[in-house]
Symmetry: C2
Subunit: 245 residues, 2 copies
DNA sequence: AAGTGGTCTAGACCACCAT
DNA sequence: TGGTGGTCTAGACCACTTA
């Protein structure tokens, strides 16, 4: 690790190198990284410095440590989706992974909001996915998802229909895109005709509208999602923290 | 640090001791802790171990480090409130501390939901505060706050009216209660008559309802707050992170 | 210049997991 | 038993703040 930039801590440089390797695909999701001692030797830093870099990546949900086993590249499981991205729980507080039904899949051209969120040109080619999410058999949430065609070449509705897990698992396994973070903006709206019909409520009923932008490494946006949630029997919860303490 | 519990890391014990001192009021909010080297000597641990304990408390927003100056007990400023607790921003994304007007202050007996949230007996004595929050002159949010009388002895509407900063600053300075964390549940509702009048919308208009429980040290709940927000021109945003990276 | 937190080292030993 | 991450030590030196 000779010749680092001035003023930048060594462990930040190491973190940068680890992230570069992850972005380059040197270690696939779910696989173990070399042992910390090995990585420390490779980067020619002390073990403590290496660990500090890994600490950061673990905190950002990019790596997962398991004592006695190793350090792994994080994968997208249902559990992870539920804790990190899906914040809707039933009134009792029971978290449950929803049942997802594909309603529509088509190509289109990016509207202003989509283009801005995905940082692509306005009118650029996108995929649009429309899903109906149900919990305990009752429809709760309509998701409209927008993806840049360029990032998901050859995506088909068959992939969406046959996918066993979460969409983010599909992104990861089929397109080597790992979602690591999301930002959401929420507001209350009145149900439009379409949402009212799908969710089984009266038009104009209050619904929770969620705009989510999902990012992969380096704060690169890859998905825009507009969710409309019937909060008659469900809440959006912050604080689903299996972290801290 | 001889005689620690088996299986508990030393830095956790140190963290426990630091929190005990904070709860006991050994260091007042805003004041500096002894230097890390001094604390390490006092607890008879290595500096690295002491730092790891402090790291945790910094991450939990309980302590604040300032290089070259010291480590301080976190205080409640408007900035902190805005980033950690107040998640409403205008559509452009501009965060702005709202103007608060006290509408009502009275004593009452805890309803079921309030009692459960505050972990007090049903029907127990509480204070109820009703505030109208405005941004850029326009009313945006009605807050109904419930506090256990026992935790805030002698609270008066004069204190609320003359308070220069945030409510959490008042809790901290006048009642030695430091809010360190909150949990929120959100849903969309139709405006009732009262909210409609205060926010200047039609009854039944969709509003965002937020239930917040605020906790002090040791996950001890001290405030229940029901907010109703007009999201016509504002959003609730997650991800107001001045942390990480 | 003195004092603070921030980084970095080079180990030792412990707890846990797989075999 | 051997390999992994987790904890802990006892320093040295750097960067920043204050006086």
């Amino acid at each position: 690790m000779a010749g680092s930039a001035p003023g930048v801590p060594l462990y930040r440089e190491v973190k940068r190198l680890l992230m570069d390797a992850l972005i380059a695909g040197d270690w696939r999701p779910g696989t173990a990284l070399p042992a910390e001692r090995v990585l420390a030797d490779r980067f020619e830093v002390a073990i403590g410095t290496l660990r500090k870099a890994v600490d950061d990546l673990v905190q950002e949900n990019i790596l997962v440590r398991q004592q006695g086993r190793g350090t792994f590249v994080a994968t997208h499981s249902r559990e992870r989706y539920q804790f990190q991205f899906f914040h809707v729980v039933d009134r009792g507080g029971h978290a449950e992974y929803p049942h997802v039904r594909l309603l529509d899949f088509r190509k289109g051209r990016a509207e202003d909001e989509e283009a801005a969120a995905l940082r692509i040109a306005r009118g650029g080619p996108v995929f649009r996915i429309k899903n109906l999410l149900a919990m305990r058999g009752a429809p709760v949430d309509v998701d409209r998802i927008t993806l840049a065609q360029q990032r998901f070449p050859g995506l088909t509705d068959r992939q969406l229909r046959e996918r066993p897990g979460t969409l983010y698992q599909l992104y990861q396994t089929a397109f080597a895109i790992t979602v690591v973070r999301s930002a959401e903006r929420l507001r209350a709206v009145g149900a439009d005709e379409d949402a009212a019909r799908l969710l089984g409520v009266d038009p104009g009923s209050p619904l929770l509208e969620i705009r989510r932008v999902a990012f992969t490494y380096a704060d690169d946006p890859v998905e825009f999602r507009l969710s409309v949630v019937n909060t008659a029997d469900h809440d959006y919860v912050t604080d689903l923290r299996p972290d801290r303490r």
